[in-house]
Subunit: 332 residues, 2 copies
């Protein structure tokens, strides 16, 4: 298995990517190879910092163009054809890589994925699925920001995509799918969630467990929670920032007190880096989106997510599932 | 000043209300009187638990009807005319009380407020303003759940209502007003926030500082953040639950380690009870909505919020401000 890893995406590129790739190769299955895509000189300088590099399993593919914040996502394919994002995704398209991982501009990765890997037939809106740590087992939330204005049938499709991820990547049997809402009762919600609840209730082949309130996310009582990309994005960013903030404050206070307590369970729940990356779901290939702030640890975990997606044949699973689902979800 | 306090609202009613009222009278200005509204026998039994009660400043107003979860909010006024919610709000309407506080059904308090206190002329949608603790100073978020489907002009009006609360209740000079969104740039957002950003940018008399992402809420960089009631409600409930969860986990781990560290700053930031209650803004009287889980400490703080709203003449301030704002906010 070959995984193309954008080496130019993180705030600390390419050193975080290089260190993450080496970590992944050390720990994951030996049939995994990684292709670092980006500026060859910079990548090789970063590689030189490491005493040993797994022989024959770590490759470099030169891609000199740089995507910056000034690039409009939709123009990257045309204007930056030799960027790590475009080159990496084209490797997947051409079958030269089995998956692509990037911590670069989410908008650019999404737009370029849509242009190169294309939507899977029947998928209306590809969505970003992100794992939220909870007090119980982790919960996949989608959409985390790919689609800000959604219709009920989009959320139903997110539920189907999420169900597959929960099975293939999270190992959940008969995943519990919930709808993020402002109350538990079916008659609570805004226009979007009221209608979505009706559709989910009668959708076949989904284990829909009803509405989930904001307060219940942390309890970890479902495997998949669907929402529109606006709510999902606000919530995700808020969660991450609160987690970082709390960990920072605790470490500071512990240090001042001369204590070195390890709040193991707490840090586990707050550490979203453990999940590494968020798959872009509904496109014709494995594409994992990471944070710009990803550490080597997060990159290593993103490689693990990509490897699971490839091994489980997730893209084919989605293709099959979407083509057999009740067609347009009987929507008005 | 007389404050009507619904004694039947919390999960531990009326003892949390009675203890909170006594705490408030002990600590707040001596011109404050509290009228406990609810079942007289139950209230008196709860009062009997306290060794001393401030003489002449704590009254009981009998209201035997009980509002339950089975009551549709819109029917409470008609079907439960002798409930604490209806009686308390009618006291405000009749000038027998200067403010009403309730931890009962939010829907019932809102609906009954609209029927009795009425909307302030020019206010399209009364909103719930709730204080979020942050790393900096607290931030007022509205709407926290009164209006789930909003139009851009509603969010502009929330900004005006929030500005007044920030001045009158939070003591902020020239409050910074932000729009909750998925990116900082004006061209980011869904249909609602894109249009709202335009309106806020050209609204007169508002210190609009632009979009605020989910990740920046905790930093405390603005005084007021506006959003629709769906997003606000999900976010608020999520925040509260995360805070409770983290505090619970920390206490458990500290206890197991035999430690007794006090994470003072952390607990302050996470303790939303400090803010007590959320004003319902845009109705013709002071109405403070509390959590069903409110402790005596939260009730005491809600009384303080109510007292500040009365003293600052907040309702008249809103009336004046809304009537002089550019009329229908130049909306399509």
């Amino acid at each position: 298995m070959r995984i193309a890893l954008d080496a130019m995406g993180t705030d600390l590129a390419p050193s975080a990517e290089v260190a993450g790739a080496i970590g992944a190769l050390d720990e994951l299955e030996p049939d995994i190879e990684i292709v670092l895509v980006g500026d060859r000189d910079l990548i090789e300088a970063a590689l030189a910092e490491h005493p040993s590099v797994p022989a024959g399993r770590l490759h470099v593919h030169h891609a000199p163009d740089r995507v910056t914040a000034a690039d409009s996502p939709a123009t990257v394919l045309r204007r930056k054809p030799d960027s790590s994002i475009v080159v990496g995704l084209q490797m997947v398209k051409a079958g030269e890589a089995d998956a692509f991982i990037s911590a670069g501009s989410t908008g650019a990765v999404m737009a370029t994925s849509l242009f190169t890997l294309r939507r899977i037939p029947g998928v209306d809106r590809p969505a970003i699925g992100t794992l939220l740590p909870t007090a119980g087992s982790s919960c996949l939330m989608l959409d985390a920001g790919a689609n800000v204005d959604c219709k009920p049938q989009h959320l139903v499709q997110f539920a189907r995509l999420g169900q597959i991820v929960a099975q293939d990547l999270m190992g959940r049997d008969r995943p519990r799918v919930a709808l993020l809402n402002i109350g538990e009762e079916p008659e609570k919600g805004d226009e979007l969630t009221l209608e979505t609840h009706k559709l989910l209730s009668r959708a076949k082949g989904l284990n829909f467990v009803g509405n989930l309130e904001g307060r219940d996310i942390i309890r970890g009582v479902c495997d998949v929670v669907v929402c529109d990309g606006f709510v999902g994005n606000v919530l995700l960013k808020f969660y991450e920032s609160v987690a970082q903030f709390i960990i920072g404050l605790m470490r500071k206070e512990l240090q001042q007190a001369g204590e070195s307590m390890d709040f193991e369970e707490l840090f586990r729940v707050l550490d979203y880096e453990e999940y590494g990356g968020a798959p872009l779901l509904g496109v014709g290939g494995v594409c994992i989106i990471c944070h710009g702030e990803s550490s080597p640890f997060a990159i290593r975990n993103a490689v693990a997510v990509a490897a699971r997606a490839v091994r489980s044949d997730m893209v084919r699973h989605i293709t099959r599932e979407i083509s057999t689902a009740d067609p347009p979800e009987e929507v008005p």
